[in-house]
Symmetry: D2
């Protein structure tokens, strides 16, 4: 998997977001979350099914908590991308430092269908970026594009 | 830690719930979730802080996804407890088999304060148990009882 | 305004849905809710701004409660449309009678931008229809298509 | 009905909140919302059942949108009360002017039981007041104290 990105984001910022998401947020390593595309108002990622991520032992389903953790993370990252575009005149370091001021206000997840597949795709869209609050919509899908879970979140941004 | 329970639940059912929660839901082992009290309309649990559960690397905060996973799990378990009391005339095996028909419809989590502590307490209360839907309220607190996150969920029950 | 509809719905069912929504749900008359398009998995409507629907007196904004009431209603109606298509072999009367078994389980509304306009458009999409639960996504927009509020809901269906 | 209040709020501020809630938010008059108690971290109110507030015509149930409108309003007011206590050194006029900077970020409502009664009670509690966001929990009950609906909200405050 390679990580692609839109023209509104510069490669150094993209690599910084990747390092934060995949390495510095330790729990994301436990989940095996991998970013696949970043733009100023969307984020796409992928997660591999593994035995230790199983929720419902009888059906080999992915645990709902993995889904909420992934969607929460992507919602936060898409807000940070939006902030990165807004403050394009700042250095990459300054823009990435805004991550430390980012926080999830609240999150809703709708579990629509059993999550059983060899891997999963996830996506977050930034539907509004205010001066203090970012709002996102998220989706969690099978490799065939079937919608398995849906989410929305509000994030505090600076 | 010992697992205590109310008189409306029998020890064999309690042990079954414990085995499902702590062993059979594999991802809960990753989280280190331990039940501490079960009743017909509430569940209490405990989770130890660990390096691999860190979300915000700069502050050693617990990842929000751990919180949502724990609260989602407890919301489901308290529904199952309520179902266990409702069908008290069934065998323990029959009542525990109802777990396979339980599912989260949706979940909301409010992240109120940074989750930084050596361990955390979590609780779910059953605020309504209908014939098809159970509704729960959850809280996630510091050892001193400070409310760190709050949640509510709807579950399909049978 | 005329009420149009997709080929999967028959005119008699559409008229029944209109009568329920605009006349029999009394509070919708207070709101002035008018349906504009119905299909098996979407509903569109319109609402006129009026002085008695103002929330924030200083800015002449629509009250958030009007938005949540409209989006809740449309979420329920799109579930009923889906049920109407699923039970196409039943009489219109039988299918409309399923309305009495429909209920909102829960609802989330995100208020994105101040709702100031001469009229508003609202839409609900059915993202999943199970045997017991329907899940919807809703949007509330200005006449120019600007997203003012967003919502999602879970409904009990029969 | 009289409007009582806790000692942390002064009578002039309380009267200001009452005027905003019951008179200046025009749609609240349509709903007939009456405040009954205000404190720095809670708000209680009452609403009379009326024919034009009916949702489900077959059962004479209150429309869910009335419930969400009432709970949204009370969540906002309890945030304003908290702000009023925090800025106790300001004049009443200055503190009430903060209402114009208050806004609902998002809202969740759980509909638990059919709302059929001659009147209803509603309550909001402030569970956290940050510098930018206030978080609330709300309940909607029958005169006998039966929980009919439950809610939580996030509000932007200044």
């Amino acid at each position: 998997m390679t990580l692609t990105h839109g023209p509104e984001l510069d490669p150094e910022f993209v690599e910084g977001i990747r390092a934060i998401t995949e390495e510095q947020i330790v729990f994301n390593k436990v989940l095996g979350l991998k970013l696949t595309h970043l733009s100023g108002d969307s984020v796409e990622a992928r997660i591999q099914m593994r035995d230790d991520l199983v929720g419902h032992f009888q059906y080999n389903r992915l645990h709902g908590g993995v889904i909420s953790a992934v969607l929460d993370t992507l919602g936060g990252i898409v807000c940070l991308n939006g902030v990165g575009v807004r403050y394009a005149q700042e250095t990459v370091k300054e823009r990435l430092a805004r991550f430390s001021k980012l926080g999830t206000i609240d999150l809703r997840i709708d579990y629509l269908r059993p999550s059983i597949a060899p891997h999963f795709l996830a996506r977050a869209d930034l539907i509004r970026l205010g001066s203090r609050v970012g709002n996102t919509r998220m989706s969690f899908t099978s490799p065939e594009g079937k919608l398995l879970a849906s989410g929305c979140g509000a994030y505090i941004v600076s």
